[in-house]
Structures are given as structure tokens and as C-alpha cells.
Symmetry: C2
DNA sequence: GCCTCCCTCCACCGATCGGTGGAGGCGGGG
DNA sequence: CCCCGCCTCCACCGATCGGTGGAGGGAGGC
């Protein structure tokens, strides 16, 4: 019997997962949580075999909750459910210790089978997610921007000129340009606008 | 007895809505559909009192499907479920004839009550959605960009210079600038980068 | 101690952009 | 028919940006 805790801020999705899982005799949904903090608390109390969790939740995000659960409860595994295959949090969640990452759009049996796999100690990845991962691994430099580069880029996105950005951040205009050029280089881009849109696509902004 | 058709591309969400609705004696889920086209066909076949539909679906988007259903089946009402309260499709769906617009994050009883309201011929709006609507109505100019302005803005977002945009669209550089200036004016903005981020926020891009 | 990375700053240049003030053509609605 | 909105284009200007080639200081790792 696989004891499962379901965590999702959407009542509809929660009900859906429960409905899908509960109709199988080998799976028992023992609890539900509507946000990240509640998920951690319920996991602590119920000690389920498995937590099925949304990535985006109020309170604590899916990856934060995952990290805490994995740290406190070594016997509890985490299976992440996400809406978007391009979600920038995929890596974060897996680094936090998630054992699986499935799309909400996946057919019902794939989700049920994912739950069983993870409960057995295996890993469950949606094909689209797996493709994302290998694509990221293929990219040698995962593009990491420094804190300052992100500061500057955020203000660029807000429509500030280099001079104004300098004033806001209490640095010289030359420094702003220097950060921007660094960021352009890292992103493989030649202008501020594309830098902003790309950073947004990558979930960096 | 309210006969309901549920349309959503996510199996999980479909199961959730069905689970929420089916436990009430006055509601009968008579069918399901996994995309917009199937929703229209099933509605045609089953003639339900109500279609509960996601906005974003493959095949036909929620508002297209809504328009078709409303045109063909005057006895069938449509209740839209969305994930994001800032969804740019709110207006489109309501113009297409939807009788309600609820958030997936809404508590279960609010969704059930919404179904009953719409079946009675009333309108059901989540508070957050209603707030969005009045905010839009308050704004005298809803910011509508022309097709050409959007063409240009999309290429700006891709990092193209005005000259390159001109080449791609087979127009002069001066024309590109003229479209951009128009767009800046409409968006209340003074630079291309902010224009792009704002257009993205507004769901125009 | 040394090396690397990040942050800071400077001067200079050509290219591009933002903005002004026009112009004409073309299609739809009153 | 006339007006209005959209699309197209022109010339010109100052401001800003992208890019080069530096420089120094401070924090952290080996």
C-alpha cells in the first residue's frame, strides 16, 4: 500500500489527483495540503511514502518544500507535478531531491504509473521534461547571471536608461554598461531588449 | 438536474472537476473532452446545460470553442475555468459568450456554486476576475496595437534592430520607427525594451 | 601567497535609437 | 463624399547604446 500526501493550491487539481489515485487499490491518499508550508507539516505528521506536489504554491515553493521534506524525512519521496514543460524550476526541484517530475497534461495512467515508480524508488520523468533536462545538460554553460547583472537587467526591463539605472543602483553609468555587456555575452545576445526577453524565457528575471 | 460537459486538456484537472461536481446530487457530468474541438463536438452531441471549460487548450482555444457552442447551441451555457487571474483572454471569453469565469484556485464550493449559478442563467465571476474587469473598464483606452505594430514589436523582442526589422517585413526603416513610436505612445512608454515587457505583461505579445 | 571572480570605473567611437514634423495612398464608415 | 485610421516613407537631430580596451580593489578558494 502506497501512502500518498497530495499538495496543490488548486482545489480542483487536488481533487483530480485524489480521484485518479484513490481508485487504485494499491494507493491510499492519506492527506492533502493547500500550500508549501502545510505540505511540510502534513508530511511531518503523516510520514507518507510519497508526496505528490505542485511546483508553484504559496507559502513555500515546491522546491523549498521538497528540500525540507527530503531533509527531515528520508523515507518520504517527492513527485512533482507541473503545468509547463518549460518550467525553469525543473532543475531546482530535482536538485532539491525530487524523485520525479510529471506534466499535469499527462494521461491518467502515466501519472498513476509515475506514483508507483517513485514509490518503488525509481525515477519518473515525463518525456517532455526528460527532453528539457538533456537539452540543459547539452548546454555547457547553464547561463548564470550575477546578482548585479540581474539588478541591471531588471531595471532595463522596466525601461530605464543606463544613466537612470546607475542612479538607482548608486553606481556609475560605465559600470552599468559593463554589467550589461557581461550579461549580453553570457546570454549570447547583442542588445538589451533581447537580453531581457531571453532572461524572462529562461526564468532568470 | 444540471447536465455538465467538462473540457480540459489536463487529465488531472478533468478528474478534479468531475470529482468535485459528481458528488452533488443536482449535478450530472455527462461527458468530457480533452481539447477545444472535441468540446464543441461533444457539446453538439450531448447538448448539456453547461460546459465547464479551460481557457487554454489545444485544437481550439477556450474562447473559440465558446463562440461556436454559443452560436450552435443557444440552450448551452459556458463556464470558463482559468489558472491565472491576469489572463488576457478574460475579455475575449466573455465577449465570446461565456456566462462565468472562475479561478482554478477557487475553493471547491465556490466552483460548485458557480456551476449552479450559471445553470440558473446567472453570471459567475471570481472576485479577482471581477476586479480585473472593472480595472479594464476604468481604463478608457484598452491599448489596442495594430497588426503591424505587433509585427514590429515581436521582432524587437527577438533582438532585431530597426533596419533588420524593416528588411524582414519588407518595409523601410523609417516605417519601423513610425510603428514603434505609435506603439510607445499607446503603451505610455519611452523605449523599446519597456514596450516589449509591457506588451508581454498585457498578453499582447 | 596567488589566482579567480565580481564589482567598480574611465575614455572614446560609430551605430542605433527616440523624437519631430512632415507627406501620400488606401480602405471603411458616417 | 469626406474623414479617419492604418500603413508607408522622408530628412534631420541629439541622446543613448553597443563595443573596445583598459584599470583597480575586495572576497573567496587552493
Amino acid at each position: 500500500m502506497i501512502r500518498v500526501l497530495v499538495a496543490d493550491d488548486h482545489a480542483v487539481v487536488r481533487a483530480g489527483i485524489v480521484a485518479l489515485l484513490d481508485e487504485h487499490d494499491d494507493i491510499d491518499v492519506v492527506g492533502q495540503a493547500a500550500d508549501g508550508l502545510a505540505a511540510v507539516e502534513e508530511a511531518r505528521r503523516l510520514r507518507p511514502d510519497l508526496v505528490v506536489m505542485d511546483v508553484r504554491m504559496p507559502g513555500a515553493t515546491g522546491d523549498e518544500a521538497t528540500a525540507r521534506i527530503r531533509a527531515e524525512l528520508p523515507g518520504t519521496r517527492v513527485l512533482i507535478l507541473t503545468t509547463y514543460e518549460t518550467d525553469a524550476t525543473i532543475l531546482a526541484a530535482i536538485e532539491a531531491g525530487a524523485s520525479g517530475y510529471l506534466l499535469k497534461a499527462a494521461p491518467a495512467d502515466e501519472i498513476v504509473e509515475g506514483v508507483r515508480s517513485v514509490a518503488r524508488g525509481e525515477t519518473a520523468l515525463s518525456p517532455a521534461i526528460a527532453a528539457q533536462l538533456v537539452a540543459r545538460l547539452r548546454a555547457p554553460a547553464p547561463v548564470e547571471l550575477t546578482a548585479r547583472e540581474l539588478d541591471v537587467l531588471r531595471l532595463v526591463a522596466a525601461g530605464c536608461s543606463n544613466r537612470v539605472i546607475g542612479e538607482r543602483l548608486f553606481i556609475g553609468e560605465a559600470t552599468v554598461k559593463s554589467h550589461l555587456l557581461k550579461a549580453f555575452e553570457k546570454l549570447g545576445v547583442h542588445d538589451r531588449t533581447r537580453a531581457v526577453t531571453l532572461a524572462m524565457e529562461r526564468g532568470l528575471l
